[in-house]
């Protein structure tokens, strides 16, 4: 680092590094220089002229957002001249601004409003006719109101630089300038809405939020988005128990301000009229009828108790969406009360294979933060931008701001092609391609390898051997699909491993049936499915079993259940989830659906109903147990309690398990799908149906059956 230099800002002596922009040097000492177009991490514009300051010995006002500090510089950021200039700029800005603040979505949290309040003039000298342009809708998500736009170009830059999507540009010129889609009249993009959130004014508004509420009517609750395994922190705007908006403008959490379309707009499944709000019981004629919780729980408890008493055969399918506490409790219930290890979950990546292959190696699982700091990363057999949008964003940002080198070996074209060094290799051919890259990869200082579901079983041993052969520090990310796949595995929702990957024999148990074996078994007495939809692909499985399903919706599996118990969504409960990189984060209850209960409460109630000696478990007591028993979860909780992340580190010792790579099946989710939840999101569905197919892969989009409305909610 160069020697620090000294300058004076508003009479205060400031020490800074040469090359630091004046606006940031001032910020470091608590002097805020106003700006619209300057935005941390995005390219410099010097367009809004709000940050003009006086620098002694220069003839005119200087632009603080592009001016590097120099030794001896004497700066005045609040002199009468500067104040007059700001006022003048704001006056110019307001000439064509419609000032429709009373009906503008942004009213109350608008940077222009705040700026005028602080620096502007109380009255207008503008007596001319304003230029009016009709509002435009570019997609189901994005609306643009040109007159409100102050042309700070943040939207264009976040799309170009941040996302690499290049959907937005500038059209016309002079006072007719406006932001335009780069492809005709609609957006060809991810519909992520980053442009909307970054907009300082109400020019860009979202289809889900516009004209729904005033910002101050909402309560803001930070929780974790559970559409995919990346685990972005999201701030929900709640009004009367209903989610109105999701964003992350406070830039907290692992994702900063990033959210994808699912995170920002896919929350509406929560309010879908098809949400189950009452337990359902199958009548003698095969119909599902609403019953009270008491009746439903008593029915399940009675049948389960009967099967336990006669040593019946249970199958339990856990979820990769539910919380760690719920997963832990489910396996505990299964093993202690149902006295079986027939428990599993839908595995979307061979995490066990990786852990087994890494045995004995320390510090080899990459954290989310590693993706932002690693000097090099390799994407193997994964369409990262489609399936893991946050990880793709972090890598891209690392490349953009830190010049990290990104490599990709994939069977087809991927978004990363635009900046990474990529190699095409058909599935099964990837090791040949890796061999060709070996010397180049070995020349990197370090490497994070992110691999998809195709790398499983023996291929993992091969991959780790390849990593070892590079002679540089290598870390791995086993890409998993759903919000708590990692947690489900860590919590022992597995037939042959206990929580924390402890040997099943240590608990005095023998391995149970796996996912496929349970569903193929002709003589199951009972099948208990929590937050999963196994019958969607196996419509005739477990035909003779007593089926209990906990879910949000009447899924294919729920339709065939004997008892359906309505579950609360991730937005409606407390608990923790573990993201794809092992980051432990906290869910905070934000919304409520009448009649639904959290899976944890349902399991606890069943235990009570079955007259077990369990002390009623709560999220807190279960987590204490997890901390004690699950390796890597004994973490300081201050970070996650405050909306941050703590990184879990599972065992990398010898795993005593049966390798079953055939159980690994990727869900093939895209940017716009996340299984059942996305099916019930009207916004995600409308996005997929709208024009702009650039990033839609019809082969990957799940088939969407027409939705049935039970009319139980609202």
């Amino acid at each position: 680092m160069a020697d620090p230099i000294k300058l004076t800002i508003d009479g205060q002596e400031v020490q800074s590094q040469p090359g630091v922009l004046l606006i940031n040097a001032a910020k470091q000492v608590g002097i805020s220089i106003p700006s619209f177009c300057y935005y941390d991490g995005l390219s410099l514009q010097a367009a809004c002229r709000m940050c003009l300051v006086e620098v002694e010995k220069t003839p005119k006002l200087q632009v603080a957002c592009t001016l590097p500090v120099a030794a001896g510089m004497v700066v005045h950021t609040d002199s009468p001249t500067v104040r007059q200039a700001r006022k003048g700029t704001l006056e110019f800005l307001l000439t064509n601004h419609p000032l429709d603040c009373p009906v503008c979505d942004k009213g109350g949290e608008c940077e222009l409003q705040d700026m005028v309040f602080r620096y502007g003039a109380g009255e207008s000298r503008f007596r001319e006719i304003k230029q009016h342009v009709e509002e435009k809708q570019w997609s189901p998500v994005v609306f643009y109101d040109a007159p409100r736009c102050i042309l700070c170009y943040r939207c264009v830059r976040i799309c170009d630089e941040g996302l690499g999507v290049h959907a937005l540009g500038i059209g016309n010129r002079g006072s007719s300038s406006e932001i335009i889609p780069n492809h005709g009249d609609h957006l060809e993009c991810d519909e992520c809405g980053a442009c909307i959130d970054i907009c300082p004014v109400g020019a860009l508004t979202s289809g889900t939020y516009r004209y729904k509420t005033r910002p101050w009517e909402m309560e803001h609750i930070g929780t974790i988005c559970t559409h995919c395994s990346n685990g972005c922190k999201t701030t929900l705007g709640i009004r009367n128990g209903e989610i109105i908006r999701a964003n992350n403008r406070d830039k907290s959490g692992i994702n900063g301000e990033f959210l994808c379309v699912k995170g920002r707009y896919g929350f509406d499944f929560n309010e879908h009229p098809s949400r189950l709000t009452s337990p359902l019981l199958k009548t003698a004629n095969g119909e599902l009828r609403p019953v009270s919780w008491a009746v439903a729980l008593a029915t399940v408890a009675k049948r389960f108790s009967e099967f336990v008493a006669k040593g019946g055969k249970f199958g339990v399918i856990g979820s990769n969406h539910t919380t760690n506490e719920e997963n832990y409790l489910l396996q505990k219930f299964t093993r202690q009360i149902l006295k079986t290890s027939n428990i599993d979950h839908h595995r979307t990546g061979d995490l066990l294979g990786l852990l087994a292959a890494l045995r004995g190696r320390k510090n080899t699982l990459a954290t989310t933060a590693d993706l932002s700091t690693t000097k090099a990363a390799l994407i193997l057999d994964a369409d990262l931008s489609q399936e893991h949008p946050l990880l793709a964003y972090l890598l891209r940002t690392n490349w953009r701001l830190n010049k990290a080198k990104v490599w990709a070996v994939t069977p087809g074209p991927v978004r990363e092609d635009s900046y990474a060094t990529t190699k095409r290799a058909a599935l099964g051919e990837e090791f040949r391609a890796l061999g060709e890259l070996k010397d180049a990869l070995a020349a990197e200082a370090e490497l994070v390898i992110l691999f998809g579901a195709a790398i499983k079983g023996l291929a993992l041993a091969k991959l780790v051997a390849f990593g070892d052969s590079l002679g540089i520090p290598v870390k791995y990310v086993c890409l998993l699909d759903y919000s708590n796949s990692r947690g489900a595995s860590d919590m022992g929702v597995l037939p042959d491993l206990l929580p924390g990957y402890h040997n099943i024999a240590d608990g005095g148990l023998s391995p149970g049936l796996n996912y496929d074996e349970m569903l193929a078994s002709p003589n199951l007495d009972a099948l208990w499915v929590v937050g999963s939809n196994p019958f969607a692909r196996r419509p005739s499985a477990s035909a003779n079993a007593f089926v209990v399903v906990q879910d949000l919706f009447l899924t294919e599996t729920a339709k065939r259940a004997n008892v359906v118990l309505p579950a609360a969504s991730a937005y409606e409960k407390n608990g923790t989830v573990t993201n794809v990189c092992g980051g432990l984060q906290k869910l905070t209850r934000a919304a409520k659906t009448m009649g639904a209960k959290s899976d944890l409460d349902i399991i606890a109630l069943l235990a009570k109903e079955m007259r077990t000696d369990w002390v009623t478990p709560t999220v807190e007591t279960v987590f204490q147990e997890i901390k004690r028993l699950v390796l890597g979860y004994d973490l300081p909780l201050a970070a996650i309690e405050t909306g941050g992340v703590a990184t879990t580190t599972p065992a990398t010792g010898e795993l005593s398990y049966r390798a079953q790579p055939e159980l690994v099946r990727s869900s093939g989710n895209t940017l716009f799908t996340s299984g059942t939840m996305s099916k019930y999101s009207e916004m995600l569905n409308s996005v997929m149906e709208s024009p702009g197919a650039l990033y839609h892969d019809p082969n990957k989009t799940q088939e969407r059956a027409p939705l049935e409305t039970t009319g139980q909610k609202k």
Partner: protein
């Protein structure tokens, strides 16, 4: 389409316009018959430093408007980066009142080409572009024809004059934006992007076309170079005044008897230009004002012009500028408010919209002055015009905002009585000013 060219004046010093009256002046045969490409032959035997020293000694200053010393500009180009370098000619002549570059391209394109080849040789560039204003469509064919002739005679292409050095030159059209006359906006447009100016520094000399070192000069600047090498730096410098060497094409429009383009040495007296070169005021009217350097130059009242000479420093001292060399002469009957309106309409139309003060300021000023002109003015308008111009001045991203603010500020300051006079008029076409926001 051939431009009808005004009759020359005996007071002119015809150096770069020497061939303008010759039939077939654009052809390479005419050019070669009149010492064409002799400057290049001399320059190609010189070292880059010697070429730059010659330019410095000639006191040639950029003819695009800013008047920056050309030799110094070339000396800023790094020659050891290993990157390609480019020679770009700014032929995006769009300043109202300026019409000289079109004549240079139409009447004597080889002079321009020769100047660019000398620039290319200086920094061993391989490629150059002549960026021609989109509206000058007809010039593309003329310049392209000249380029083909130069290739044929070996002044362009491979191994120029046996030097072992290759140089290619192309024409490129602008797309109709005044803003692209600003050098960095021109580069953006050349690269196929939206024509908005770049952040400076770095300047084009260091990071120019395609992010590479670039020599970028005005058409007239390049066209002035061959003669400097042909006749010597001292000879050229002596044509002008100290610090401003050579001659300049002066474009005179407005209320004079003989408007036109005249080549005059730097430092030529303004009144002599009006009364002798241009044959005096039209209809014997009295001079009211002069806009001395294209429409962005602050206006001069008649009395300010009396002892004024036409060179960069003298005009700067008079708080205006020599700019692009376009003089607009206004007689006593001129309505200054309507001149101001015409001027601001142009800048409001041409503002690229990148920064707030220029984008909104030009449009607002246009609306106020339009309303005033239309008889809908209110007394506070006049101070407001001056204040808005001051709020733009020096605060915009590029000089376009200044180019709009400077003349408007000067019109109001120097002819306030005419603006006030408008308040007494009744509104010609419409009712009271719209106070209601629509």
């Amino acid at each position: 389409m051939a431009t009808k060219y005004n009759d020359p004046s005996p007071l002119e010093v015809r150096v770069i316009s020497q061939r303008f009256q010759t039939p077939n002046s654009a052809s390479i045969d005419t050019y070669l018959a009149t010492e064409g490409y002799d400057g290049l032959k001399k320059a190609i035997a010189m070292t880059p430093d010697a070429i730059i020293d010659t330019l410095k000694a000639s006191n040639l200053r950029g003819r695009g408007g800013a008047g920056f010393p050309t030799g110094m500009k070339w000396s800023f180009v790094p020659r050891t980066t290993g990157k390609p370098t480019y020679i770009i000619c700014n032929s995006d002549e769009s300043e109202p009142g300026t019409c000289k570059d079109r004549l240079l391209m139409e009447k004597d394109p080889h002079q321009l080409i020769e100047g660019m080849v000398i620039a290319g040789w200086t920094i061993k560039s391989k490629k150059g572009y002549i960026f021609i204003r989109g509206e000058y469509r007809y010039l593309i064919d003329i310049v392209d024809k000249a380029l083909a002739e130069a290739y044929k005679k070996g002044f362009l292409g491979k191994n120029i004059l046996g030097s072992g050095w290759d140089f290619d030159l192309y024409t490129h059209t602008g797309a109709g934006a005044y803003e692209c006359g600003e050098e960095s906006a021109l580069l953006e447009s050349l690269e196929g992007k939206r024509g908005i100016p770049r952040l400076k520094p770095p300047f084009p000399a260091v990071v120019g076309a395609f992010q590479c070192p670039t020599i970028l000069n005005n058409t007239e600047t390049f066209a002035s170079i061959p003669v400097i090498f042909r006749k010597g730096a001292e000879w050229y410098a002596n044509l002008g005044v100290p610090k401003s060497g050579g001659t300049r094409l002066t474009c005179v429009s407005g209320h004079v008897n003989k408007p036109g383009v005249y080549e005059l040495p730097l430092g030529f007296p303004m009144m002599k230009l009006i009364n002798e070169v241009c044959g005096g005021m039209r209809g014997g009217k009295k001079l009211k004002a002069v806009i001395p350097g294209g429409s962005s130059a602050p206006v001069l009242k008649a009395e300010e012009c009396i002892d004024l000479t036409l060179d960069f420093d003298a005009l700067a001292k008079a708080k205006t500028m020599a700019g692009s060399g376009g003089l607009v002469i206004l007689d006593e009957d001129t309505d200054i408010v309507s001149v101001a309106l015409r001027t601001i309409k142009f800048y409001a139309h041409e503002s690229c919209g990148w920064c707030i003060p220029c984008r909104e300021g030009t449009t607002w000023l246009k609306k106020i002055i339009g309303r005033l002109e239309d008889g809908g003015g209110v007394p506070s308008d006049i101070d407001l015009i001056g204040e808005l111009a001051a709020n733009m001045l020096g605060r915009t991203f590029c000089p376009l905002g200044d180019a709009a603010a400077m003349p408007i500020g000067a019109f109001v300051a120097k002819f306030r009585d005419e603006f006030e006079g408008k308040l007494k008029q009744t509104r010609a076409t419409k009712k009271e000013p719209d106070l209601v926001v629509v």
